[in-house]
Amino acid sequence: MSFIQVRDLSHGYTAGGFFSKRHRVHVLDGLNLDLEQGQSLGLLGGSGSGKSTLARLLMGLENADQGSIVFNGQPPFLQSVQMVFQDALSAFNPQRSIGWSIAEPLRHLSTMSTESCKARVEHLLQQVQLEARDIDKLPAQLSGGQLQRAGIARAMAIGPQLIILDEALSNLDRVLQVQILDLLAQIRRDSGTGFLLITHDLSLVQRFCQRVVVLAEGKLVEDMPVTPQMRFTHPAARTLQEAVLPAMPRASKVYRETAIL
């Protein structure tokens, strides 16, 4: 029995209106997805393929035009699914401390007392390897990598069953990306939280996920377990796979260098 069931999901937006004719843009078109509990799933897709739309629907931030999303037999609820956003700085209230922001889900979704909230935030900060004194800092006082960790702490606060990372690592450099993926793998092992990693970068999926799906033309065009030798067959998925940068420089560079010298 899967933990999330997405059935025949279709969704779109109305575009234009002010200077141009209004028209409907179809983003998702009859999408089906089953998610296992505690699984880390990679959702790959090019720009504009509808990755973020799917995330918003899973979060319950929007209602789908057609189709259904069911979590353990119930509609989506913030207690069971939380999200980490791409732009960490704009995802935090600039006038409030990090500790206040991390405790926000606890204030709205739990009945914890102020003291136990504070203890929980301190524990969370420790889990994401931030320092206890960061609790009183403002978002602008943290670096991009630190702030993204705080975003993860906030998503973990209420103990959700699924955390959606919507391009949450794309703005960080490689060294930070690896550090945060290792941290997330640790959290997954410790707490059994499932993750949905939304990205256009296959190398992140290969590092972190157990299963990968590729979104193109409003549907899932690939669905397979992550292995070192996996090969996509759908053209849109092949494009993403071929765009991955090489691990080592090509041998032919040597010839070019010597030709110039």
Binding site: S40, G46, S47, S143, G144, D173, R174, V175, Q177, V178, A185, H200, D201, L202, S203, L204, Q206, R207, F208, C209, Q210, V226, T227, P228, T239, L240, E242, A243, V244, L245, P246, A247, M248, P249, R250, K253, V254, R256, E257, I260
Partner: protein, 257 residues
């Protein structure tokens, strides 16, 4: 033909703090020279320092620029011999001017105008892969994607007939597919137009893909100069090893725990 651009003794200070310390770089025509380092190591300031486009409060203390061994002023280089491509293309364009006006303005500095200019703009846009040239030229920066704007930046550099290109994290804001296309374009221009490129990046994948030589920067200093194969096979500095370790953990193992 201009063949080398040498930067000697570039030191940048903010009040008493040294941000960039005696950086030396040589760019060669037909080669991609990568400048890598962690966030905050002074990579971007170096590129701005070369063209003397420093933010307020940052001062350069007497760097020497040599074009084929002859000393030159930064003001004579920028927008002419040397073009700059920035990370966030949207903020690099004037938001209230169409891209056609940007292109015409660039050609004006070379004394070109009229039908000749129109023709040159059209062929250059095709060269960088913007085939829908009239629509692009009539657009404003906010109406185009990041990948298209980065191509337009390159087109402007070609229109200015620049021999050297300073590219500061040109692909960090692009998705992997747009990134691959942009790097294809860059490699083609280096080969066909004999362009000399300084490519600033923190992604060793980009370096592996298209660099010939690499300088590694840390705390405002260049800590290692090497050929790209030398660097990947036998990195000397701690910073290079850190960058390569992160890169390889994402590319070589290639499997979830």
């Amino acid at each position: 033909m201009k063949h080398t651009l040498t930067i000697r003794d570039l030191t940048l200070k903010h009040q008493q703090r040294t941000l960039v310390d005696r950086v030396e770089l040589t760019l060669k025509a037909g080669q991609v020279h990568a400048l890598v380092g962690a966030s905050g190591s002074g990579k971007s300031l170096t590129s701005l320092g070369i063209l003397d486009l420093l933010p307020p409060g940052v001062h350069s203390s007497g760097a020497t620029l040599l074009l084929d061994g002859i000393p030159v002023e930064a003001a004579h280089l920028r927008g002419r011999e040397v073009a700059l491509v920035l990370q966030n293309p949207r903020s690099a364009f004037n938001p209230v001017r169409s891209l056609r006006q940007h292109a015409l303005e660039t050609l004006q500095t070379r004394g070109l105008g009229g039908a000749e200019a129109e023709q040159l703009i059209q062929t250059t846009l095709h060269e960088v892969g913007l085939h829908d040239d009239q629509r692009v030229l009539d657009s404003f920066a906010f109406q185009l994607s990041g990948g298209m704007l980065q191509r337009m930046m390159i087109a402007l550099a070609l229109l200015a007939d620049s021999r050297f290109l300073l590219a500061d994290e040109p692909t960090s804001d692009l998705d992997v597919v747009a990134q691959a296309r942009f790097l294809d374009l860059l490699e083609r221009l280096v080969e066909q137009r004999n362009l000399g490129v300084l490519l600033i990046t923190h992604d060793m994948g980009v370096v592996a893909r298209c660099a010939d030589r690499v300088s590694v920067m840390a705390n405002g200093r260049i800590v290692e100069h090497a050929g790209v194969h030398e660097l990947f096979n036998a990195p000397q500095s701690k910073e290079a090893r850190t960058l390569l370790a992160a890169h390889h953990s994402l590319t070589l193992e290639g499997c979830a725990p």
